[in-house]
C-alpha cells in the first residue's frame, strides 16, 4: 500500500490533479485510510496501464473509458473461466476431465 504522494513520485508523467480526476471518474479505485488514498499493487499497475495507453498507444482520454470498460469485462470473464476451471478440476472425476479436454480440442479449431 502506498499513498498518493509516493505513487505520483514513481512516474514523471503522472501529475497529482490528473490522478485525482481519474479517481473521481472511477477509473482508479484506491482504498481510503485515515482520510487519504491507499493504493494497492493492482491500483499502481492500473495507473501505469492508463499512462501507457494514453502516452504510448495514443488512446486519448475521451476513448479511455470505453477501453477500460472492455478490458474490465475481459478480465472479469478470464477470472470467471479460471475459477470455473479450478472448480472443475477439484470436483470432476479424472475421466470426465479427459473427456471434456478432448471434446474441447475437437471443437476449438
Amino acid at each position: 500500500m502506498i499513498n498518493i504522494d509516493a505513487l505520483v513520485a514513481l512516474s514523471s508523467r503522472l501529475e497529482r490533479p490528473v490522478l485525482e480526476r481519474w479517481i473521481e471518474e472511477d477509473w482508479v479505485r484506491p482504498d481510503r485510510r485515515d482520510g487519504e488514498f491507499a493504493f494497492s499493487d493492482i491500483d499502481v499497475a492500473r495507473v501505469h496501464l492508463i499512462l501507457e495507453l494514453r502516452d504510448q498507444l495514443d488512446v486519448d482520454e475521451d476513448a479511455l473509458p470505453v477501453v477500460l470498460l472492455l478490458l474490465d469485462q475481459l478480465y472479469d470473464l478470464r477470472r470467471q473461466v479460471r475459477v470455473l476451471a479450478d472448480a472443475f478440476v477439484r470436483v470432476a472425476p479424472s475421466d470426465v476431465q479427459r473427456n471434456l479436454a478432448s471434446e474441447l480440442i475437437r471443437h476449438v479449431v
Binding site: A45, E52, D58, Y75, D76, R78, R79, L84
Partner: protein
C-alpha cells in the same frame, strides 16, 4: 534479434513519423494487457517495443544504422503487469459488477454456464453450414477468351471441371461455378468455385475494350496503288481493300470484326494500322527513286523542328 526495421515493417529511410505510426498500429494490436494469456502477442509486443525504442531515438537509430550498436544492445523497458493482478482475485476491485467483497453472485456464473453449456452451444454443432468458396486460376489463350471456349480445369483432388469461358472474357475476370467449392457441413450446401481467368497475350492482336487492334504489314505497291489484302481477325481471315495513296500508320476499320457481341455489348471493331514494309530493295527500285522527282516534296521530320 531481428532487424528493427523489419519488425516494424518500415523501410530503412522511413521518417520518424512513419516509424511512430507503424509502432502505434502494431502496439495497439499486441499490447499484452489487451491480449491476456496470448504468449505470442507478448513476444511480438516486446520485439515491437524494443524496435521502436531503438528507432524512435535519433541518436540510437544513427548508431544502429552505422553499425555501432546491434539491435539487441538496449535495456528492455519494464513492462507493466496489470494483467497479473487483474486475473487474480484482486482484479475483482475493477469488476464490472463493482463488487469488492469476496464470492461470486449466482447471476455472474449463471451467465457463463448458459453460454458454455446451454442450448445455444449445442445448436452450432448440427446447424447446416455452407462450404467455403474455393479459388482457382485458369490460363486461357487470347482467342479462347475473345471468342469463348470450354476449357478443362483439373482440381488439386484430381477432379476435372469443364469451365465455360464466355465470349469477351477479360484478363482477371472471375467466373463462379456454383456448388463446386468446398463441401458443406451437416448437409449444408457446397461453396462455389471461383475461377480467375488469366488471358495470355497474343502475338499480334491487342484488345482495347470491345475493339481489337493489329499492326498490318503492307508492301509499298499495296499502300500506294491500293489493293485487296488478307487480314487476320479473331474469327479468321477476311479480305480488306487498302485504298490507294494510303500512308504508313493509316488506320483502317473492319466493322464488327473485334470482340463478338456478348452480354448485351455490341460486337467491337478491328482496327488495322498499316505498316509499310519495303523489303529487300533491288536495282529497279533504286533506279526509279534516283530519277523520281516528287510532285509534292515532303519533309516527314518537319514537325520535329517546331518548339513544343
Amino acid at each position: 534479434m531481428d532487424d528493427p526495421y523489419k519488425t516494424l515493417g518500415v523501410p530503412r529511410d522511413a521518417t520518424a513519423e512513419a516509424i511512430r505510426s507503424a509502432y502505434l498500429k502494431l502496439a495497439k494490436r499486441h499490447h499484452p494487457d489487451l491480449n491476456p494469456g496470448d504468449a505470442k502477442s507478448e513476444e511480438t509486443f516486446k520485439a515491437i517495443a524494443s524496435a521502436n525504442d531503438l528507432l524512435s531515438d535519433p541518436e540510437k537509430r544513427g548508431k544502429f544504422d552505422r553499425g555501432e550498436i546491434d539491435a539487441a544492445g538496449r535495456e528492455q523497458a519494464p513492462r507493466s503487469s496489470y494483467r497479473e493482478h487483474a486475473e487474480g482475485d484482486s482484479g475483482r476491485r475493477y469488476s464490472r459488477a463493482g463488487s469488492q467483497t469476496g464470492g461470486w453472485s449466482e447471476d455472474e456464473f449463471g451467465d457463463i454456464f448458459n453460454s458454455m453449456f446451454g442450448e445455444g452451444r449445442q445448436a452450432g454443432a448440427t446447424t447446416p453450414r455452407r462450404g467455403a468458396d474455393a479459388s482457382f486460376t485458369l490460363a486461357t489463350s487470347f482467342l479462347d477468351a475473345v471468342n469463348g471456349a470450354t476449357l478443362r480445369l483439373t482440381l488439386p483432388d484430381g477432379i476435372a471441371l469443364d469451365v465455360k469461358v464466355p465470349p469477351g472474357t477479360t484478363d482477371g475476370q472471375t467466373l463462379r461455378l456454383r456448388g463446386k467449392g468446398d463441401p458443406g457441413r451437416n448437409d449444408g450446401p457446397a461453396g462455389d468455385a471461383r475461377i480467375e481467368i488469366r488471358v495470355a497475350p497474343h502475338r499480334y492482336f491487342v484488345r482495347d475494350g470491345q475493339d481489337v487492334r493489329i499492326v498490318l504489314p503492307v508492301t509499298l505497291p499495296e499502300a500506294v496503288l491500293g489493293g485487296d489484302v488478307e487480314v487476320p481477325t479473331p474469327r479468321g481471315v477476311v479480305h480488306m481493300r487498302v485504298p490507294p495513296h494510303s500512308d504508313d500508320g493509316t488506320e483502317l476499320r473492319l466493322k464488327g470484326r473485334g470482340v463478338p457481341a456478348h452480354n448485351g455489348a455490341a460486337a467491337g471493331d478491328l482496327y488495322a494500322k498499316l505498316n509499310i514494309v519495303i523489303g529487300p530493295a533491288d536495282t529497279a527500285l533504286e533506279a526509279f527513286l534516283r530519277d523520281w522527282k516528287p510532285e509534292h516534296a515532303t519533309n516527314p521530320r518537319r514537325g520535329m523542328q517546331e518548339p513544343t
